[in-house]
């Protein structure tokens, strides 16, 4: 049984807690959060807002906003324990030297009220020695079948790529939804297309699945789309993306 304490109980902390509590190999013995939390019934765990009250555990998981990770890691009243953070964009060495450093980064998007199946989520782990890596591998394996050793430099690139395929893609969904709304059409119309566009990545690579007016240099349709977007804040996105896709054609 791996004893774990989760520090910070936002989206990532809560999703990790739920994933860990569903299996028998990990015991979340305590949750720390700077401010009190209204626990719903599903969370039955020892909770504290007092950092001096931290218990003894095998792994301490920091799941706070990126810009507060370093500060919290320095404040921990611990010595030579394995302390890991869960961020895609913070380097391993940002953690305090007081403890053994590690990263436990689940490459996924977490929202309130959306249950996540961890099984296929890549858990990107990093540590300074084999023993700590082994501990993180064990912890990850309890919830996922996809454990990856990724160093800080690689993780940074991974996080950047994730911004493109998650944050920016989600924003394009928003654009699609907005354009339909302006014409009293339902976003539901686009949902099967959104689903299939993502599903294709299971079997095709994105170069092969690229279609549309920009790809086939269909200038007449592009012209018409730009005309429809006259005065819209989304015209700039259309122009940039179209230009990029067209350049790609000539690569």
């Amino acid at each position: 049984m791996i004893k774990v304490i989760i520090l910070g109980f936002g989206n990532v902390g809560q999703h990790l807690y739920q994933a860990f509590s569903r299996n028998s190999k990990v015991d979340v013995i305590q949750v720390f959060n700077r401010s009190p939390i209204n626990f719903s019934e599903e969370f039955q765990v020892s909770f504290t807002t007092d950092i001096r009250q931290l218990k003894e555990a095998d792994i301490y998981i920091i799941a706070v906003p990126d810009d507060t990770i370093q500060e919290l890691s320095k404040k921990l009243p611990l010595k030579n324990k394995l302390v890991v953070h869960t961020s895609g964009s913070v380097a391993l060495n940002h953690l305090s030297d007081n403890n053994k450093k590690g990263v436990f980064y689940p490459l996924q998007t977490f929202s309130k009220n959306a249950v996540v199946d961890f099984k296929s989520i890549p858990i990107c782990i990093e540590a300074n020695n084999k023993e700590d890596l082994k501990s993180l591998k064990q912890l990850g394996s309890a919830i996922s079948e996809n454990i990856q050793e990724i160093n800080s430099k690689e993780r940074e690139q991974l996080h950047l790529s994730a911004v493109f395929v998650n944050n920016f893609v989600n924003y394009l969904y928003q654009v699609g939804s907005d354009l339909l709304l302006d014409n009293s059409l339902s976003f539901d119309l686009l949902k099967p297309l959104i689903k299939e566009t993502a599903k294709k990545m299971e079997s095709l690579n994105p170069v092969d699945s690229q279609t549309g007016p920009a790809k086939r240099n269909d200038f007449k349709t592009i012209e018409n789309h730009l005309h429809l977007l006259e005065g819209s804040p989304y015209k700039e996105i259309y122009e940039v993306m179209t230009k990029k896709i067209q350049n790609k054609n000539y690569k």
Copy 2:
């Protein structure tokens, strides 16, 4: 039994043929294509490259590239038949006056070698009279549970939105894949994230599911990402998308 002839046997034509042949309400009695086709065994249908040899059918479905629809519709040796096209961006009145005009636009992305389940695909239909609309509704209902009456103006907007959530989204997948490849990391790492990002749209709206450095105005991470993208053709996309997401915040 609705007798159908498919004119043009590219991606859309072939997917429609497959969908129709899987049910008993529609009979594809003939396929026309400008050039001969190497039929695989799965296609058992009367085929012609000679437009003068077209048979008698209830509905003629034009599934050729957008810029050749009008020309083909003019050439058809038919009078007062129901002739429809399958395009998102071509207006109903582009079809020749020789016949009754209609649109049968399946809002989905079709690729070779990717079997598509038509059941939930919105089939957007348009016609000039109730009788023809009824025929198209019957035809659509044979393969989909999601038949929508959409006029040419609405369809144009729908197609534009589809470009954002399909073509541009697919291109962002390509960017993610490229950035990883440059660092010898596998695109597989992003696939669970891509899947979940799309899946969220089933239960959340895109405004609520927007996350990331741009959304939370995390300037430090944005700075670092722009630094990582120095000299990359993708920097411009990052800048535009980030700016748009940030402006959205202040709406």
